[in-house]
């Protein structure tokens, strides 16, 4: 094992630099986690911004295709669910600048009558009461269910006293849902730009995550909209506020956070896994 160091001076220097970061048993010695940071801030921010803009551009370019795909999903779902009316296309705009064609339904849901309101009230009270059976580790769920019951109760009160003032029609609501979803989709490359693209993962992984999230939402948005339409057709307009306030944007964001949490667990080329107790 006594041998002269062979190779170029650069290779020797490389070996010595590597050895300087190796522990006694060969493991890599990284700075303590309290001192870790990312190098090359400027380059990373520039790359992240560029990648984000590429993502937004890709999304904009695919808008016509998206409109066609959503119409197809609406038609399939409409037929499968046996909903009244037909699927039609409407022109819509996002932020007044981006225009596309989105599908909607021609049938309009009815406001709740006395029976429907009574049923909704009983169901809401039942759900609220049942939330008290959710104990121990299910307490967060209990809180969510109570929030749900609270929002639903506002709808019941509203339709009990001022049903004629309810300003939304299902057809417009569906267009609005898709529009709001598009805003979320447009934000995703930008948010990822400042929260994910900065990290030391390959460009392929960054783009893969972006495509996965956008692809998922592209299918989820029309599915969710049609599910809302189905529930409104069953439960009258009294369920619409709850669907909008509790099962719209919140679910889109949960999908995003789930993907993000998964992707942030992907291994890093820069930082090694520290030892644990």
């Amino acid at each position: 094992m006594a041998s002269p160091v062979t190779g170029s001076a650069a290779a020797r220097e490389g070996l010595l630099r590597t050895l300087a970061r190796r522990g006694a048993r060969g493991g890599t010695i990284d700075p303590h986690r309290a001192m870790l940071k990312l190098p090359d801030a400027g380059r990373r921010l520039a790359m992240a911004s560029t990648t984000a803009l590429i993502g937004v551009a890709g999304l904009l370019a695919s808008l016509p295709l998206l409109g066609t795909a959503w119409t197809w999903i609406f038609r399939q779902a409409h037929a499968f669910l046996g909903l009244p009316g037909t699927v039609v296309q409407r022109s819509a705009s996002v932020l007044g600048r981006i225009h596309l064609t989105v599908p909607t339904l021609t049938f309009d849901a009815i406001p709740p009558d006395g029976t429907a309101l009574l049923a909704a009230t009983i169901a809401t009270l039942a759900v609220f009461g049942l939330s008290f059976a959710l104990r121990g580790p299910l307490i967060p769920l209990a809180y969510f269910v109570r929030a749900l019951a609270l929002v639903q109760s506002t709808a019941i009160v509203y339709f009990r006293f001022w049903p004629e003032y309810f300003p939304y029609r299902l057809s417009e609501y569906l267009v609005g849902q898709l529009q709001a979803g598009l805003v979320v989709m447009g934000l995703i490359p930008l948010v990822l730009g400042f929260t994910f693209y900065l990290f030391d993962l390959s460009l392929i992984r960054k783009l893969t995550l972006t495509v996965m999230i956008l692809g998922h939402l592209a299918i989820f948005l029309p599915l969710l909209a049609m599910m809302h339409a189905y529930l409104v057709s069953l439960g009258t307009l009294v369920v619409l506020p709850t669907l909008f306030l509790m099962f719209g944007l919140l679910l889109h964001v949960m999908v995003f956070v789930a993907f993000y949490g998964w992707a942030m667990s992907w291994p890093s080329a820069l930082w090694q896994e520290p030892r644990r107790s």
């Binding site: 006594a2 041998s3 300087a20 006694a24 669910l81 969710l224 599910m227 999908v255 789930a258 949490g261």
Partner: protein, 351 residues
């Protein structure tokens, strides 16, 4: 409208929504990352920690060697590590051969002086005086007695000496350098961390400074906060003045020649201590700190920027060791620091 179709469609929608949650659900049900973080162990501030660990390791391994193992030995330790022991015949290491590389743990049980230009890719343990030649590279070196590193030596991880440690000029010391007795550092040496009861750079020490006696008037606007005075803005302390108490200066601080502060000092801006200034407490600077020639600081010197210790200045005392911690650190000639030097972005002695 069939309720079954509605149920099926709802299931599809729900399933699709839950798809990205699968990694989260799997991590919840079959946890793969639930061990607590490993908190900072005992070694955090001990410059010689790695050397002590190696001494224990090698001692255990050597105890496991057969008793018949010869004093001069080339082979493996019980854990399989390549190993050489030198007792009577330093020829095992071929010390005279220039450019040789030892990729084994080396134990030297005899006083030895190496010719130089060698590379030790694993640890060296010298139980007697050890003198390295010039341009020698050590991964790590533990000397139980005196250790001398030749000019332009390079240390990759650590060196610890039980006796005095002397470092030749132009050397590069990465990692932890320590001695139980003293470290003397030659000119043009780069370093990260050095710890010893006394650390000196070559050059003559400064003569004893005269005590300051000049009267000091706290500037107008200074506020008393607890046990210190806070001065907003820059502050200049005149030559030969004696200040009693702790100071916090939010601007720059300049202390003129021979002045003395009997307390600790915190400065948000740059600090300049001129020749023969004394601070009988700690000196903390948010930016650069220049300690002038022959100046004395008794407590820790903490500089978040660059710290310069001028020729002949001293930090700490033989019976009151302390720390100099800096972003980067420059040491003049004849500097004495009792305790340890930490240079996070690297330190260097004057050429």
């Amino acid at each position: 409208m069939s309720p079954w179709h509605g149920l099926a469609f709802g299931s599809i929608t729900l399933g699709w929504m839950l798809l990205p949650l699968i990694p989260a659900i799997l991590e919840l049900l079959r946890p793969s990352d639930v061990a607590p973080l490993r908190v900072v162990p005992r070694d955090a501030g001990d410059v010689s920690f790695l050397a002590k660990g190696f001494r224990l390791y090698l001692g255990r391994q050597m105890n496991l060697l057969p008793t018949t193992t010869p004093a001069d030995f080339l082979g493996r330790l019980p854990d399989g590590t390549h190993f050489a022991r030198v007792k009577a015949g330093p020829d095992v290491l071929r010390p005279g051969e220039p450019g040789s590389t030892q990729d084994r743990v080396v134990r030297v049980d005899t006083p030895i002086a190496l010719a130089g230009n060698q590379t030790f890719l694993q640890e060296v343990h010298a139980t007697e005086d050890f003198t390295g030649g010039p341009q020698t590279v050590y991964r790590a070196l533990l000397g139980e007695r005196r250790v001398t590193l030749g000019d332009r030596s390079r240390v990759l991880r650590w060196v610890h000496a039980g006796g005095a440690l002397s470092v030749g000029s132009g050397s590069a010391l990465q990692g932890r350098i320590s001695s139980d007795e003293s470290v003397t550092v030659g000119p043009g040496v780069e370093f990260d961390r050095i710890g010893a009861p006394a650390i000196r750079t070559t050059g003559s020490a400064a003569p004893a400074r005269a005590s300051a006696t000049g009267a000091w008037q706290m500037p107008e606007g200074a506020r008393r906060i607890g046990d210190h005075h806070r001065i907003d803005g820059d502050l200049e302390i005149g030559p030969g003045v004696k200040v009693t108490g702790c100071l916090v200066v939010t601007g720059r601080l300049t202390v003129r020649q021979g002045a003395e502060i009997d307390g600790s000092v915190k400065v948000h801006g740059d600090v300049t201590l001129e020749r023969a200034v004394a601070i009988r407490g700690s000196l903390v600077g948010r930016r650069d700190v220049v300690v002038g020639p022959a100046a004395e600081v008794l407590g820790p010197v903490i500089g978040e920027g660059q710290v310069v210790l001028g020729d002949g200045c001293s930090v700490g005392q033989a019976d009151a060791q302390t720390t100099v911690a800096a972003g980067s650190l420059k040491l003049g000639r004849g500097v004495t620091v009792f305790g340890q030097l930490i240079a996070r972005d690297g330190g260097r002695t004057t050429d």
